[in-house]
Amino acid sequence: MIFSDVAKKVRAGDPLSADDGLLLYRHPSLVELAALANEVRERLHGQRTYFNRNLHINPTNVCVARCKLCSFSRRAADAEGAFVLSVDDAVARLQARLRAGDAPTEVHLVGGLHDGLPFSYFLELLAALKAAAPGISLKAFSAVEIFFFHRTYRMSVEEILRRLQAAGLDSLPGGGAEILSSRVRKAICPGKCSADEWVDVHRTAHRLGIKSNCTMMFGTVERLDERVEHLLRLRSLQAETGGFLAFIPLPFHPENNALGDHPAPTGAEILRNFAVARLVLGNIPHLKAYWVSLGLDTAQTALWFGADDLDGTVSEEKIYHLAGARSPQSLTPAAMARMIRAAGRIPVERDTLYRKLSTREEQEAM
């Protein structure tokens, strides 16, 4: 196989093999790779580039999993800087945005694995947020948290998901996938659920009609073949369920965590990972450049390396900023649209399910 053979497969819409994926990771020309990824991107989305208005809420940073890659968590509830957000405080945060005339369409809720909270706390949190803004979409709890609920509250994953769904959960974020390989998980996040368990939570969610995202946290100890394997596992679940909305590659950030002497992946490696993901994951519709993690310039540039989504306006991001991210804390919808336009693409504001809300032009015309 050479690059042009892989390109033929991509153009014919044939799925790529593990060897093809490796070839792409090793292909000397970053520009050729980007151009091919862009063909797929434009075939799926043309010039359209998505963003949404969202709000990040982290219910707690207390976590029993001692992941080496994390700068956010505190081991115990009484540790310095440890917090649990009350339901009222969470609602107040949402209401502050509503009062400011800056209503988000989605709340993104992820937190630590806190073994001292009742399940009812999470159900009340969802219900209260939904009550405060009935139209809002709640994207809450990574598969790692869902699996932790299953263990802690002694209910099946399905039962947990059904209850959360009933309380207002609409979709699952894609976090905690890291690299779906037992070797890598043992090295960087042994306290998290296994790769099989992570996949299983998403399978169950999809079966219940809960859409989800998926991620890859790259740049620590994984090998390229493990990255390819990760992509293929996601593609295979997607072929089975069709429940993934977007794939989000997340480069490792080294500050304030136990992997601090491991260097962060460089820009060219990050952009290459986007392009390879776009080519291997032909069946996952969206590829998201999460600007908080990437920084604005790299996120914007990723729009020419396969990405079609910039995530949202965010506000109050903690997890990456504690790991040394230098991006701003939030962006206005106008700034997001301008960033997209400055990259030469067309901004489209979307909801959680990627339904178009309005284009910037339409908003400006209003």
Partner: protein, 631 residues
Amino acid sequence: MKGSRLRLAAVSFLNTRPITYGIERGLVGSGRVELTFDLPSRCAAAVSRGEADLALMPIASYATAETELCIVPGVAIASRGPVRTVLLMGDVPWEEMDTIFLDEASRTSQMLVRLLTHERKLAPRFESAEHDRIVDQVGGRGGALVIGDLCFAASARFPHVYDLGAEWTNQVGLPFLNAAWIGRPDVLESGDVELLQESLALGLANRDEIARRFAERDRADVALYRRYFHDNIHYGLGAAELCGAAAFLERAHRAGILKTKPVLRLYAGRILRKSSTTGRSLDSLLSDAAAGERLSFDDGIRLYQSASLYDLGRAADARRGQLHPAGVVTYIIDRNVNYTNACTTACQFCNFYRPPGDSRATTLLRDELAQKLQETVDLGGIQVLLQGGINPDLGLAYYEDLFRWMKASFPLAVHGLSPEEIRTLSERETLSIPAVLERLIAAGLDSVPGGSAEILDDEIRRRISPRKCDVATWLEVMRQAHRLGLRTTATMVFGFGEQPRHLLGHLDKIRDLEDETAGFTAFICWSFQAEGTKLPLRDDTSATRYLRILALARLYLDNFPNLQVSWVTMGPAIGQTGLRFGGNDFGSAMIEENVVAQAGAVFKLSAADIERAIRAAGFTPRRRNMRYEWL
């Protein structure tokens, strides 16, 4: 002599024939030039005795000449790797040779083998031998430097053969300039430089015919001769070859092989480039540009407007690979010292300056400076980039004192004073620009940074930095600096609401000057850093626009050997990505950069970070100096 015939002397080796082809055939210069063939050493002597006006002379003869000489731009016998006709041969490896016999015919090759032997810390005896009998001297622990056509037959006879062209370029990263048309300063008439280049252009077009003729003469393999012309000998003389020659002469001087370290002076005249035809498809425009063909202004506009990011990136990456085939990306360790922030120009985009008299306007004291310079030396730095505001309190004497003190106290090269600072000194002191430069050079100035160019368009300059020098002055300072032997860079800052014609106009002006002087070593561009400055945030400073402009610049600036990426302003991620869009240099592991830091860009990379970024982009990192000579 004006009005009379131009007398040329050349060696009659195979490799000189493309150079003399057009003249020999009477296709150019008939009635003007008179060509005679002679031995290499006698060619140089003919010039010094006044028997010839110009000779195809080894660079070593230029360096040791008693009289002032000049070099014809655009024509040379040079190499960028294996040259095949400058070989060290022996029965034993270089390290074991106790005697090296030197072919009398080429002084430059002699100097090269002495230098490379010295740099390998070897000390054999050197003995002179006649050209025709040189190969017979090889045996036992005696090796020989063999040059010219003899090499083709002789190289197969010995187990240890070193190609000195390859040895040089693998070590230094620059071409080796062996010989060029050299003569006394006043012998050329206008049109002569072009005539000599045309003779070569005709020769290059007929290389295969020359190869065939010589192969028949020597009963040799014609394919071998053709490969020699196409792959080994490199006939251009531009910025990279001049840097190679300067590096060679300086190293030889340091090694005690050469008594003086002469400045390389060129005759006035333009370096002609193969120029393109019009009406080509976008694809052929891109592939021609990737192959190093010249783009017209209109071609440049068309590429900017119609070529995709990927088209530009692919072509620029290919061109970068052609110019830098070893897959090396260089960087330098230096320190940017902004010696004063007092400035009268009040440019709209600058956050650094303070008006003179303002309480926050400061000029660094010697003690502060000494500390910064010592830190630079301690961190492995080799250069200081000295730039500051336009401070009316500081005159030429201040800089002369400063440079003399710096050069006496620290082993650092002085890369300093942008054209704006130099022209201000010339006005303040009512001295000509060359006179200011000569005094600065005498005090220790080594090279000039390409700042204050912004966009070289008077309409835009009047709008954004009305008190700065106009385009013609900026170019004139650079022209004079190049003529005096200083190497400089050129920069461009975009994002001031400029049109494609302004960008291409900027590139066109510096390309034009490079044709004239071959004095720019590198081009660096970045987008205007808007945050915190008086201008509003603009859309045209995006990273993708940077990558497009970088790639376009790589294609348009066919005569610039190096393109730096600007990680300091664009960020490490985009800077690194730029290495795949035409960049071949990562700039500086900077210890300090006040001007950009004040505008919101704060990035820091250590040398180790830079090397990792270079490797991750698929290249081998090497440290360099301002000449882009590997260290």
